[in-house]
């Protein structure tokens, strides 16, 4: 049986994303169990090769890079063809992707091309003899399924943040490769990537998320949430569906069953009652703080620390205290 593990390292706009290191870290742990190597694949526009060496820091033994102008934006068909071709050629035990927005699109395409099922959005992964076993939250996170894959290779996507990128430095062999077919001939074309506010930390990358709900009473009070996030310094701002439906915040900020699913180190729920749809998006956060005026609010059942009170008074006081604790 093949011992090597293939990791897909995601990039956007010519830079590797944090999830690229998570994929390599997860692959490294699997390869340490099989005694095999980690091979990473990267695709991007001209210049991406210079970024590939960083994957060695997280345990990649080899990195295959394809540079092509048609990889400047996400190119689903050409990228899936390339990853599947590498996966076929190398005889890999496991192909690891991360279930980011791009990974959710790419991973099932790769599985389909390889003729195997996809174990998607796993929160843990391990080898069990010739099988791959992972856990996957189902039924909006209310049930945890342990999934066994007997397909070869096993194609998996891991939930962003489920694995913390960890350095295991080695000098990766960097190889360049040609795309599989002509990437410019893809039927599905990304015509435009609309950048959000790039100064803003993304919800998937932020170690701290401060999230606001209807308890803030008015759109303009959301600045209290932003100020608290700014005080932490490494925080992103999220919102409940009620708030995004009302247009207080963009739809892309929504955390919950139908929005983003996040697992930051710290999740601060401000004026959020804790409807199950919201809990489905954040209950795996490591530490949860809730501030709400209703002591019976369901959010207090999942919160490690709760304060009962008016968010309009408590949040500015917390912002000041966090600033003091951070020394600014």
């Amino acid at each position: 049986m093949a011992n090597n593990i293939l990791a897909f390292a995601e990039s956007r706009g010519g830079d590797l994303r944090k999830v690229a290191y998570e994929a390599v870290t997860a692959a490294r742990a699997l390869a340490d169990a099989t005694g095999g190597e980690v091979h990473a694949v990267v695709a991007g526009p001209s210049g991406i090769t210079a970024k590939a060496g960083a994957l060695g820091t997280y345990g990649a033994d080899a990195v295959t890079v394809v540079e092509h102008p048609a990889f400047a934006d996400y190119n689903p068909e050409a990228l899936a063809a390339f990853v599947a071709e590498r996966a076929k050629g190398g005889g890999y035990r496991v192909v690891v992707l991360i279930a980011s927005a791009q990974g959710k699109d790419l991973a099932p395409r790769v599985a389909g091309k390889l003729g195997v099922p996809l174990a998607s959005d796993l929160t843990t992964i391990r080898l069990d003899g010739d099988k791959v076993v992972g856990t996957h939250p189902v039924n909006t996170g209310k049930v945890i399924a342990t999934v066994t894959l007997t397909a070869n290779p096993a194609v998996v996507s891991l939930r962003p943040g489920a694995v913390t990128a960890a350095e295991k430095p080695r000098t990766a062999r960097i190889e360049t490769a040609a795309p599989a077919g002509d990437p410019a001939a893809s039927r599905v074309k990304v015509t435009q990537t609309i950048a959000g506010n790039t100064a803003k930390l993304d919800l998937g990358d932020a170690p701290v998320i401060v999230s606001g709900g209807r308890g803030l009473k008015a759109a303009e009070n959301f600045k209290l949430v932003e100020e608290l996030a700014a005080a932490f310094g490494n925080a992103a701002v999220g919102a409940t569906r009620a708030v995004t439906d009302d247009g207080w915040r963009p739809h892309s900020d929504q955390i919950g069953q139908t929005g983003r699913q996040v697992s930051p180190n710290l999740y601060v729920a401000v004026g959020i009652s804790g409807a199950i749809q919201h809990l489905a998006g954040m209950r795996t956060s490591k530490t949860i703080v809730a501030i709400n005026k209703d002591p019976e609010a369901p959010i207090f059942k999942v919160a490690d620390y709760g304060i009962v009170g008016d968010v309009l008074e408590v949040v500015p006081a917390l912002t000041a205290a966090v600033k003091a604790a951070k020394g600014h």
């Binding site: 068909e77 091309k113 996809l118 990304v190 959000g196 809730a290 709760g306 009962v308």
Partner: protein, 250 residues
């Protein structure tokens, strides 16, 4: 315009699930069932597209046990033309097997567009649509939050982390639908009556081998009981102290 929409019957989620004695599924006693949320958006999107064009046919397809015919009837009552039930005793977890059964049915059906919900709300894999597209060798957009079809071409928008992308693709194509595309209509009484007479064809599902199975299902460990630290601004110093010394996140 001929559109297929692949839908799934799933339990309603606002309950406290129990695990069945087998340990590999949830206990179905007392659960209510409905069409998976995102599949409802896909059915609505298909109906709106054919209504706008003034002609066409929407066909719903499901893989499921006999009870899945309720879900097909619901789609028929919303205005879908006909339904296909690919029958299995129990829906497998293997998304490749489901995609294979769907692709076998859809192949050669002359569909301009094949829609899915972006994922089923129970197993939450989001894989059946794109794998079906691969098996049919069709262009695919997963998790479209906007979809327009004109002159044999489609345009879509996908939400990314802190960004979005606009895509274009030729027809025929496979698109999985995120919410935002269309709010599903409620079936009218007239629709419900009409649905009873619409064609619903039953065939065995061609699943093939199952290579991904659920070995156990369990309830997630309860979070350690939370602590309400106090009321109002007075509780803030204790919160900050615990974030520093206990949770070590500050």
């Amino acid at each position: 315009m001929k559109i297929a929409v692949c839908i799934k019957r799933v339990p309603e989620m606002d309950v406290r699930f129990k695990i069945a004695p087998s340990g590999t599924s949830v206990d179905e006693t007392g659960l209510k069932w409905d069409m998976s949320d995102f599949d409802g958006y896909a059915v609505e999107a298909a109906l709106q597209l054919t209504e706008k064009l003034g002609n066409g046919e929407v066909v719903v397809v499901t893989v499921g046990p006999d009870a899945a015919q309720e879900t097909l009837r619901k789609a028929l009552s919303m205005g879908v033309t006909r339904a296909v039930h690919l029958k299995v005793d129990a829906i497998p977890f293997d998304n490749f097997a489901i995609a294979r059964a769907l692709a076998t049915e859809l192949q050669g059906g002359g569909y301009d567009l094949i829609l899915f919900g972006k994922m089923s709300i129970d197993s939450s894999n989001g894989a059946v649509g794109p794998i079906t597209a691969e098996l049919l060798n069709l262009p695919c957009v997963a998790a479209a939050s906007k979809l327009e079809i004109a002159n044999g071409k489609g345009t879509a928008r996908r939400e990314l982390e802190g960004a979005a992308e606009l895509l274009e693709f030729p027809l025929p194509a496979v698109v999985s639908i995120d919410e935002g595309v269309a709010r599903p209509r409620y079936p009218s009484l007239k629709g419900i009556m009409a649905a009873k007479k619409k064609p619903l064809e039953v065939k065995p599902a061609q699943l093939g081998d199952l290579r991904m199975t659920v070995s156990t299902m369990a309830l997630p460990p309860d979070r350690p009981p939370g602590r309400i630290l106090g009321e109002g601004v007075a509780a803030v110093p204790e919160l900050v102290r615990l974030l520093q010394t206990e949770a070590k996140v500050l």
